[in-house]
Symmetry: D2
Subunit: 340 residues, 4 copies
């Protein structure tokens, strides 16, 4: 039985607590929130837990094996570091940390202490992303040609971060999960209108070692319509993920193009183009709550001593992409290389 | 009566000829095409025209007032230049020329000869673009915050240009027509997969003097779904142009956001956010054929000695944006400033 | 202050209780449910209420002014009758009763006792229906030409009623609310496939005194797609209500047709047709919870001694339409006249 | 080589002529239209044909094997009868005739003369209908539960028929083609608003020998939106045909419901419901022009002496359904049995 303490019981913490509590292999042991009224809700929902108002005390509780850090990003580093120093595994909200240096420190510390970090990129455990992962890994799409993501709507403005840090962590983590090739550089553009220098419209392009692959992200708080669409085209099939669609979130298109450049005797180039337009299919998606699957997977990783795919390294890559995006935006699209 | 000669009777030339022929103020006088079978179609449709197989002869025909150049872009400069030198007004297909130097030469020559150039950016005369122009000029949208355009589908690959030169001329010309502020720089990204170095997926960001305005374009030949959508958000209203929609091409959203940053005595910043979500309306669009309106407008400009808004300068700006896009793509998003 | 007792705390009862509790003019005084575990939920949510397990006791409680009957339809008559006999106003779930005789008895009894009945046709208080009512009453649609409603999806099968009694009460109540003319007859068709003789697919046509008006309803538990669409065409404007749409539930079309039959000297009839296709507009809808508005309206009716529009008579008309539908289905569309 | 004469060269005749002309096994031999200006178009398109202004002469032309009757429905009987009497096969527009008596006469005459009749129900040869036929015949949908068709839009009003005779022939012919069970009775409703007694809104229900099958049709000239949707639910799979969709006309849903009524010892009925929600798939449709396939099929039937499925009997069934619909509408839904 793995004992779990949850720090932060605001908007998302209750979901994390509920799923750890529901897991047969884990026990929700303690909850900590600085706000008394939130602790009241916590203890009335889970009368059996230890309740803490000081996170340091929860972290030092010898009974606890895992600390779930569900607090604002600025406190992630400090809380996760203390948890690791006290021998606890860490489940931490995304984005992992406020910069890559912090993320690297935590990864190093966890390795030294032989502990595990899972960054809560919940989207990776949705039925849609799991199905896309399966389609891509099985080779059904063939070689990936591009990845195009649009996540736009009206609001909700955040006080302390721009639209990139607010919305792009979802898409960066999904893209890194689905695409095997490693990102190497970023060019990004953005503008701000309302909240000082915090961009509310931004475009990010990610380059890979493979010069024929590109990923692009449009994040926007000022769109009159809500769009959540990702296109992933492969040379065998193409897919569209529309997360707003009630019934048809993922569509797989048996479509493609074949070009043959034919050079004749007279050195004239002729391009023979063949378009393939076949069936479309809409796979049924696994309906289980994503966070439940993620929490179960974390427990499984701990029990079997497996490294989770959404570990600190995965969280670090997202932070690097966020950092590079902001730096490129400030320099009007200047190419920012990702450091190893 | 204005006499018009049309050079090029392939895919688009017949439409240009038909509309000049239908204009009460113009007379379709001559047609030229190098291909005898195309001339056969031309003369059987318009038995009264003079038929030429050498464009130089048409250009020298003293009866002709206007030469319409409806040929591949590589020949625009040479034909338009000769026409101007022979004292003819020029109606020329888009893109205007293969580089900005050619465009500038033609503009200068036309000015010297006191002749008019109209670049055939037909889209500017569609009901949708005319309505959007009216909405923006009247101030209904307020200050424009961003312009976002997506023009993607599967194919059709062009032999000799990349997807930017194929698709973006439409969107660049529309954007320049709708947005009063002048573009000053471009950052663009793209990849190629099938036809040598010709990109089939590209993203272009346009910067303006106003640092709070941005325009972005996604052009793509490898998308499983066809999308033709432009979002233009203003601080008063926002609009969506979906050119694929049968009935609701332009939608105007009475939506917006108001943020007030409030600094309290304790120097704590509080952001007060107010979202406005009002009615949506779908204006009826003018159904007249766009090319008919454009041709009538050209005749009107000639008769009243007015400079058309889609003149050589407008065509030049599109060519500059295309040039800059290609240069930036080759340099992975490096900012390319537009020259005056 | 009006004291309210709620009988039935299953699926919908908690919503009724919550809204009466939230009303400043009403006091949630008592709750009754036969199931102890439901009473546990009730008393832990509202520790201050009187809890009853026998509805007769709640009904006799002298402190109570209003009894809300939120139980299966078969018990409505008995509970409502006792409540009226004990001098209580009645708020009762839809459908009002299992036949029109019961409904008429209750209406008569309420009149005699000078008490009010409100039948909980919640849909009438949604932003969409309120907006449509406003549009029709103001004359914006002109004379109504037809009313067409489709409410289909896969499941949810009910044990004890057919699809008409399950789904059509919504649409019958809305239609009667929006259309001023009185229904006079019904022709209906239906088939059953799974649950004995209970139809799972049905079509109902309602005739009016006005022979040029028709209303039609398609209710279906076996459709692969979920559709909730109503078209109401008037001779001035037309509207579409799509209740599944997130943003554009009600659309108003400035569309219509004008026909003139012209008889020439030669006695040849010529029909001159003129189609009008104007703007479309999507009005913003009131977002308040419908049940809250309904409960507030009931309190207002009690305080001001006004007859609610969704009174017993309105509930009776829905029951008459349901009865007539079933009778016509059993007779393959035979016209069933509604009795006065 | 089969020689074909076409009578009627208005809107549809040119398409019929073009496809017979394109068939390698047929020869377009003669065209007849009463209007000289139409004959001018015919002879300039097909300079080699014999041109007739009197249909009787074309019909008597001994060279001709097939007469295509592409004229208003009121003249079908007379022209087709003369053609059969003169030993010609007949290809005739839909609806076949203005009443079932005429249709029966023609069928009898053709049988006596050993000639073939094909009624031009072009829709049966579209990719969508062919795919649905294949899906149903292969048993992929299982037993058909219902057939629901909606064909509504604004206009186009016809002068001389109601909306049933204008729009329902398409859907009746498709339904009869797809559903093996024979229609036995009709109940229909409709109202008129503009053109005398000609209904512009109508609903038609078709009953079958199988009491668990139903088909329903909504045809309407007064809808603000254009809808062309048919739902066909089977007990194994369900399909949606949306003829307006550009890319996804036919969708097949692996969805269904299984109910088990379980009677316990205490004679309590329990209904166990199981919903199956699986993949959706959008089959690629054959893109060939429907009329081309129909004409080729007619030629094939003549050469191989096969009875076409869209023969006189099929045309007669559509006429019977139209007749019965009108009769039922006039009697407010009264059940009209179809005669054998």
């Amino acid at each position: 039985m793995i004992n779990v303490g949850v720090i932060g019981f605001g908007y998302w913490g209750p979901n994390v607590a509920r799923n750890f509590n529901a897991s047969p292999e884990a026990r929700l042991t303690a909850i900590c929130d600085l706000r008394p009224q939130r602790m009241l809700v916590a203890t009335s929902t889970y009368p059996f837990i230890k309740s803490y108002t000081n996170p340091d005390e929860l972290i030092k509780d010898p009974e606890i094996d895992v600390v779930a850090v569900v607090t604002p990003v600025s406190s992630h580093y400090d809380l996760a570091r203390k948890a690791l120093l006290n021998g606890k595994h860490v489940f931490v909200e995304k984005p992992f940390t406020i910069n890559s240096q912090e993320a690297e420190d935590l990864i190093e510390l966890a390795a030294k202490k032989n502990l595990k970090i899972m960054v809560d990129h919940t989207f990776l455990f949705t039925g849609a992303v799991m199905k896309m992962k399966e389609l891509i890994d099985s080779g059904e799409l063939g070689t990936i040609l591009f990845y195009d993501s649009v996540r736009v709507n009206l609001g909700l403005f955040q006080h302390d971060v721009n639209v990139v840090w607010d919305l792009a962590p979802h898409d960066f983590s999904i893209m890194c999960h689905l695409i095997k090739e490693k990102p190497v550089a970023v060019s990004a553009q953005g503008v701000s209108h309302y909240n000082g220098d915090f961009e509310d419209v931004a475009y990010i392009t990610v380059y890979f070692n493979n010069p024929h692959l590109i990923a692009h992200f449009h994040v926007n708080w000022l769109s009159p319509v809500k769009v959540r669409r990702t296109i992933i085209s492969g040379n065998r099939k193409m897919l569209l993920w529309d997360d707003i669609s009630a019934d048809e979130k993922v569509k797989v298109y048996d479509r493609g193009v074949e070009l043959k450049i034919h050079t004749s005797e007279e050195h004239v180039h002729n391009m023979l183009i063949n378009y393939r337009i076949g069936d479309v299919y809409v796979p049924k998606l696994e309906p289980t709550e994503a966070l439940k699957k993620e929490v179960d997977y974390f427990i499984e990783c701990l029990e079997e001593n497996k490294e989770p795919f959404n570990n600190g390294q995965a969280g670090l890559m997202v932070v690097k992409l966020l950092e590079a995006s902001n730096r490129s935006i400030a320099n009007k699209g200047h190419l920012i290389k990702l450091t190893e």
